[in-house]
Symmetry: C2
Subunit: 346 residues, 2 copies
């Protein structure tokens, strides 16, 4: 019996050893959609540096905070931010209840299919266009509307579901960071309520780890039950200098790794880069006009101008989507790199 127990102990030890080493063993092929080269190596070198016990750059698990922009970093953002396409689709769906929209701008242009003219009114027009989809309903009702849209709406050119327009290499990267003890957060200019409907299922990021722009919400009673009503007033804009602020207010820890694709992410990368220890900053550069879209310094959506210069000056990693990514989108029907852990609760 003594021998059996000792043998058993060895088996347990080996068994545990296998679990512990499997992450390391997996590292080499856990980024299969990333081409071998400097970019992929820079990610793996950073992760090795901060996760190796005894390394001068070792960071304990609780401090391994990684932040990811969403639009243009985790999923595509052309020809328009997808949340904006959602808002336009909602205007079309709600039009029968709003006959006045036929003659009232910017709605009239949208209903004629002329989004460009609708947007000519600048920011006030954009705020007006977003309001019908995003306010005047309960948070539960909004969630259901987004869920229905994501299940059926398709991208105008690729004909994919929008959740199939996520970047396969970034799904692998999210899983790789988590396998190495990082807590992954989204920090996006997009609406928090919009993203939280799909981030757990698609990215493996639970709702409370999504920082985004928010509208004001009020607690009200309806038919004897409390509801949270979405108002049209803005509570917080999580973009540009708002991103480090959002990180402070929601995450309350300074990230050691930050991933973005535009000048709207610049302050988030600067905040991460100037932290006390070793850090990692990465820009996704949209330079693949064949498989995705090519745009940077002069784009109205996802402009990357100052950011490219700062990346060069500071030695941040810049991903060439054309050269560094073997594939862009997952195979359809999408096979997420992450297994959904639960449905988003109602």
């Amino acid at each position: 019996m003594r021998t059996t127990l000792r043998q058993g102990f060895y088996v347990v030890t080996i068994f545990c050893g296998l679990i512990l080493t499997s992450n390391i063993a997996r590292a080499a092929d856990s980024l299969p959609s990333w081409a071998e080269g400097k970019t992929k190596q820079s990610i793996m070198d950073f992760v090795a540096a901060v996760t190796t016990q005894g390394s001068p750059n070792f960071v304990p698990v609780t401090d391994r905070i990684a932040v990811f922009d969403n639009d243009g970093t985790l999923w595509a953002e052309q020809p328009l931010y997808f949340q904006f396409i959602f808002a336009i689709d909602r205007i079309k769906a709600l039009a029968p209840q709003h006959p006045e929209w036929k003659t009232q701008e910017p709605f009239a242009s949208v209903l004629k299919g002329d989004v460009k003219s609708a947007l000519a009114g600048g920011e006030p027009a954009i705020v007006q266009l977003l309001a019908p989809a995003q306010s005047g309903m309960t948070t539960d009702e909004f969630e259901q509307t987004v869920r229905d849209w994501l299940a059926t709406a398709r991208h105008p050119t690729t004909k994919r579901l929008y959740t199939e327009m996520v970047y396969q290499p970034m799904l692998e990267l999210l899983a790789y960071m988590r396998a190495n003890g990082f807590k992954t957060f989204i920090v996006s200019g997009g609406g928090a309520d919009f993203m939280r409907v799909f981030t757990e299922r698609v990215y493996g990021i639970p709702p409370e780890q999504v920082v985004g722009s928010t509208g004001k919400v009020s607690f009200e009673w309806r038919d004897g039950k409390p509801v949270l009503m979405k108002l049209s007033a803005i509570q917080f804009v999580d973009d540009g200098p708002g991103k480090p602020v959002g990180i402070h207010q929601f995450i309350a820890q300074r990230p050691i790794a930050a991933f973005g694709n535009s000048d709207g992410d610049l302050e988030m990368l600067q905040w991460t880069f100037t932290g006390p220890g070793k850090s990692f900053c990465l820009y996704v550069h949209h330079d693949d006009a064949v498989r995705e879209w090519a745009y940077d310094r002069n784009s109205s959506i996802g402009r990357l101008d100052k950011g490219l210069d700062q990346a060069a000056a500071h030695g941040w990693t810049v991903v060439s989507m054309k050269n560094d990514w073997k594939t862009i989108f997952p195979e359809v029907p999408a096979t997420p790199a992450v297994t959904p852990q639960s449905s988003i609760p109602k």
Copy 2:
């Protein structure tokens, strides 16, 4: 070899079985400071109902969200909210740099030791009194000030450090909920930045799981480095109807368990109670004038009036601190029920 491997497998199985059953085995004595009786039983019955596979009330781990008020629920709040005592101590410390305070209310009264007169000005006076401690500095500077204060300041009557005035039964409850797969959040009217300095060390709750009131913060450059400056303007008040709103904006999941002690927690408990599945709501009732303080319906701090009626009407659990808690505060020097997992990062 075959026999050894099979035996090894059994050992592994037993080993894993021990890990899985140890939480259940521990349940009986994981709340040692709670007196046996209806109150303790109601907590354990709820946890058993939502964690038992196959039970009609089973809740998957990702949806096990528990929210806790802080002042008066996790730590004491008399004779004044501790954060307010901190603010008053800061005014005294900063007074040499502000000779004008000697004649300017509400500061003059504070410096004379007459807090009651200082507070006579109502809410505007309170806002003025809080400002010097909480704005006009970087987030890092604020954190250091709070850390220093918590390490040295002592409660006027008990002479304990403020972090030694946490409730031992609630430390046990937090650990018990987490051992049963709950994610524990603080949802408090107190300042998020203030609480986040000590919640991980004292309660085992990491900074990103602390929802509280927030001031506006701005991203600025100072000596070539970015800083986050704390401004005096209010961003969000996490109290009363603000609590379900804060839960939505920060946690983005509806809790199934809520713990409070005052009418300021009422909407949070109502929001939890009216969710779709089984829920648990608990009020801590301060009825122990000997070991703590006794106050409820007419208290200016921590008033529990409507809440007591609602608790009776809905069958919520009401803790009698006098009868249900065998001890109130941890032994000094404090031995936290939770092992700190890391220092709060700078």
